[in-house]
């Protein structure tokens, strides 16, 4: 594979250029194979098992299920709560993205790691924190006499809590690298502050905002734990319904139809997203992020920063604090009782390994999953920047599908599909990181793509003209510019893997439960010690997550030269 001929600048899309297509396909081969083997094939297996009963295809079931009023009700609720959650998350988190990208303030790096922590928390644990805050006798009740635990607001607020970091990372990653001088130039030419932002910065950010929005939408569209805990028994998303039909009622045909319905809805969303961002991303001037941030200047920026910090304090730090406080609130006052109990396997052999071991298990799995997600997602993003025409456009959406597919479908699909050579992976430890990378890889693509596309084509061409090999062009030209995005993507893939619960619970290996699985097991047992240990383990999970992110992102976000 040689790509030494410079790619001519996009003139007008006329004339097929075979070379970039070939290169694009070559880069896309591995992500495609990964996606086919670990997503399409398992999901197709479980869906066809559901629709192929008694030796014939039961397509009649599709009409039955879709004709059911309660299913339509569930679909409607799923869509509108996801749309509302996405809008609210963007409204709250975009100023945050700006603050993290453009302002310098003490503790910024730590805080950036902390806002990602919600992402790894088992929803059942975070949900209970929200119950404590929004429910009876909670924070809002004692302050304002308002109980939100039975209203849809509780769901929306919890979704902002979980997805704040998605926006900060997808949008902020690019924002930090936009050259502020472009906006300044517009203002020199007489544009007002707002106009300059609207004409210069916003168009440059649009693809990243759209990316962030679609990610948040998919995450909230397939929301499970939050809905179960805060929505009460009368509210269900498709995800909850698919879980019930698969794992409880065992009505596979209905589950299969619902899975298809979910897929169709997600494909529609992705199509909308694709057409919205089809406007060619302009090559932007990317600069070293270290040079773009400054101390807040003027009352406006100080107010904005104060507002952002206050929203983070209330929305994220407060619920996390509630959980941490519970982990110290032992039977005899505050202390380390629950943490000490974690260290002992005691006579209680629930895990056959001590719960503390699960920390190590989780970190190992997450590290493996991060490597897989970076390779798969990185290659996919590289293929997508090679503008190989319509083929890659579908490919972009394809990689997003796992985010919009129910975890129980993927988990059960793994069990029935990957049970024969050459893909006999049911008892392999690899199954867990593979399942986690399915969720991590799309994120890597979303973070990398706007940055990669923004790398000025002419830089690549110039390097190639000077005789650099493609690998060298990548190393010398692109890597320094995308280094930061790579760090952000890696951190997120790691966090997603650390917290992934849905699919992992079905394929957790016997001797190595992951941390969220261990938390769920402890919560499933009565008694103060079990509950307290679950809280202590969740607190450890938060600390591990924040520490890992700081470690992961540090070398990658160092000043390049």
């Amino acid at each position: 594979m040689e790509l030494d001929r410079p790619v001519e600048p996009r003139a007008s899309g006329r004339g097929r250029r075979p070379r970039p297509l070939a290169a694009g396909l070559a880069l896309a081969a591995l992500p495609l194979a990964f996606f086919a083997a670990f997503f399409a094939y398992p999901v197709a297996s479980i869906v066809s098992r559901g629709l192929h009963q008694g030796g014939r295809w039961q397509f009649g079931r599709i009409g039955d299920v879709l004709g059911d009023g309660s299913v339509r009700h569930v679909l409607w609720f799923t869509c509108w709560q996801a749309a509302a959650s996405t809008a609210l998350t963007l409204a709250v988190a975009l100023p945050g993205a700006y603050a993290f990208a453009r302002l310098d303030f003490p503790g910024k790096r730590l805080l950036r790691a902390v806002v990602t922590v919600p992402f790894v928390l088992p929803t059942v644990v975070a949900g209970s924190a929200f119950l404590a805050l929004l429910g009876q006798g909670g924070f809002t009740d004692s302050l304002f006499g308002v109980r939100l635990d039975t209203s849809v607001w509780a769901i929306l607020i919890a979704h902002v809590f979980f997805n704040y970091a998605v926006v900060v990372r997808t949008v902020g990653g690019l924002w930090a690298q936009l050259d502020p001088r472009q906006e300044e130039a517009a203002r020199m030419l007489g544009a007002g502050r707002l106009a300059a932002w609207r004409r210069v910065t916003l168009p440059a950010l649009a693809p990243a905002v759209a990316s962030g929005a679609v990610m948040v939408f998919l995450f909230t569209f397939t929301s499970f734990g939050v809905i179960q805990i805060l929505g009460g028994p009368t509210r269900a998303t498709l995800e909850v319904e698919i879980y019930r039909q698969t794992a409880e009622i065992f009505d596979l045909p209905t589950a299969a139809v619902l899975t298809l319905l979910q897929l169709v809805a997600v494909v529609a969303i992705l199509a909308v997203h694709a057409s919205a961002t089809r406007r060619r991303e302009s090559a932007l001037r990317l600069v070293d992020p270290a040079g773009t941030a400054h101390r807040p200047r003027g009352a406006g920026e100080r107010t904005l920063l104060a507002a952002v910090l206050a929203s983070i304090a209330v929305l994220i730090l407060l619920p996390l604090g509630v959980l941490a406080a519970r982990s110290f609130d032992g039977p005899n006052g505050y202390g380390l009782t629950f943490y000490r109990a974690l260290g002992t396997t005691s006579a209680d052999g629930t895990f056959l390994v001590s719960p503390l071991h699960t920390v190590w298990n989780s970190v190992r799995y997450a590290a493996a999953a991060t490597v897989i997600a970076l390779v798969v997602g990185g290659l996919a993003a590289a293929a997508l920047t090679r503008r190989a025409g319509r083929l890659t456009r579908g490919f972009d959406g394809l990689l997003m599908l796992p985010l919009g597919t129910s975890a129980v479908t993927v988990g059960f699909g793994f069990l029935i599909a990957l049970d024969k050579p050459p893909l006999d992976l049911r008892d392999s430890w690899l199954l867990v990181p593979l399942a986690q990378a399915l969720v991590g890889a799309p994120f890597v693509v979303r973070v990398m793509l706007p940055v990669l596309r923004a790398v000025d084509e002419r830089l690549r061409e110039a390097a190639a003209m000077l005789g650099a090999s493609p690998a060298r062009v990548w190393r010398e030209v692109e890597l320094p510019l995308v280094r930061r995005a790579l760090g952000i993507a890696a951190g997120f893939a790691f966090a997603v893997s650390l917290g992934e619960f849905g699919a992992t619970v079905f394929i957790a290996r016997p001797d190595s439960p992951t941390l969220p699985v261990a938390v769920a097991r402890l919560l499933g047992r009565a008694g103060e010690m079990n509950y307290g240990q679950a809280m202590a383990l969740s607190t450890i999970l938060m600390v591990v997550c924040a520490a890992s992110l700081l470690i992961l992102e540090y070398p990658l976000s160092k000043r390049s030269r």
């Binding site: 179960q228 805990i229 409880e248 897929l263 039977p331 394809l398 069990l415 050579p421 957790a508 016997p510």
Partner: protein, 356 residues
């Protein structure tokens, strides 16, 4: 979508043309020294007890846990052509028919079955499953609440609809929670196929609250558990287990005279858990040895503090924690597994329309 179909086709091809290496060498003459146990997330046993099994038989046990009881059974059914293990533990009487109808198990008459009362042997004709433990789903009450309100706690299903217990009970959604379903079955057993709906209408009029999971009911909403007290739970009655009171005092120093949680013994439904040799097991001999072991005194007496269930073998001694803090349930309700299987979906649907 076209791309998805393409990718799927590609993957299927890929899987299909994997070198079908005939004779994988696993069928060697030496029997495997590993027994694989497939179970749900609640399976637990002391290390020393598992070590004793290995010492007695030479087999080491590998445990695969996947989800709750329902999810674990359904996975076993889905993978029955290529079972993941040799022995399955954790199918209860509410799921038994589904497992048996799908041909999940091979018959085996366990050693020591003569020490198990016949009323828990629900497959006595064929012995496809062996009863291992039992437990009762009952309404639990917060002792402190009823003492301070000078109110006698309820004892029966009939009590729960009385006005003095208005707005005090939290239960679980029958579609998403196994104790929630068991409580519904208890009312169906008590009031009959036609009577239970009227009972639930009264219960709803009396302000029963429904949440999705046992964790949420017991740890957040119930005022009698330690976690619930901290979470400011406001319901002194909850649908939980007869074994919750002993669980509530584990690790509490000094040990109280009685558990803060009591059991309304007239509101119980009996759950029995079974084990069976998986059809198509690679190591059926090991599976049978483990089922025998599960009926041994060693395992039976270890179970209560591990899984908070009662032994089924006659003469197995319960730990002091259970005898001191637990409740004896003289007459729990039951329903035959085949009837549960036949009626379950209808009952769940009508419950949904009445209560939610």
């Amino acid at each position: 979508m076209g791309a998805l179909v393409l990718a799927t086709a590609g993957a299927t091809l890929l899987a299909g043309c994997g070198g079908s290496g005939s004779g994988s060498g696993s069928a060697s003459g030496t029997p495997s020294k590993t027994v694989t146990l497939v179970s749900h997330d609640s399976f637990a046993a002391s290390k020393s007890v598992m070590a004793q099994f290995t010492k007695e038989t030479g087999y080491t046990v590998k445990v695969l846990r996947g989800g709750d009881a329902g999810a674990a059974v359904n996975q076993a059914i889905l993978t029955k052509d290529h079972p993941r293990g040799d022995v399955f533990f954790g199918v209860d009487n509410t799921l038994l028919s589904r497992a048996l109808d799908n041909g999940l198990f091979d018959p085996y008459t366990a050693k020591g079955l003569d020490q198990v009362p016949s009323d828990v042997q629900l497959d006595a004709a064929q012995h496809r499953v062996t009863p291992i433990d039992s437990g009762d789903v009952c309404v639990n009450y917060d002792r402190a609440y009823f003492t301070s309100h000078h109110l006698a706690p309820p004892q029966t299903f009939a009590d729960l609809v009385k006005p003095q217990y208005k707005n005090l009970l939290v239960t679980e959604n029958v579609s998403t929670s196994s104790p929630g379903l068991a409580f519904l079955l208890g009312t169906a057993a008590t009031y009959g196929d036609d009577g239970w709906q009227a009972y639930w209408k009264k219960l709803k009029a009396n302000g029963v609250q429904v949440v999705d999971s046992w964790e949420q009911a017991y740890d957040s909403t119930f005022s009698g558990s330690a976690a619930g007290r901290k979470a400011k739970g406001d319901k002194p009655l909850v649908v939980s287990y007869a074994s919750s009171p002993p669980a509530e005092v584990v690790g509490v120093t000094p040990q109280p005279a009685q558990s803060p949680v009591g059991v309304a013994t007239g509101t119980c439904f009996r759950q029995i858990e079974f084990a069976g040799v998986l059809h198509g097991a690679k190591n059926p001999a090991g599976a049978k040895a483990f089922i025998d072991f599960m009926l041994s005194r060693t395992f039976q007496q270890d179970m209560p503090l591990q899984m908070y269930v009662d032994p089924v073998v006659k003469g197995a001694v319960e730990p002091e924690l259970f005898t001191k803090y637990g409740a004896k349930v003289p007459h729990p309700t039951t329903i035959a597994p085949d009837k549960i299987a036949a009626k379950r979906d209808d009952w769940v649907k009508s419950w949904n329309s009445i209560v939610l």
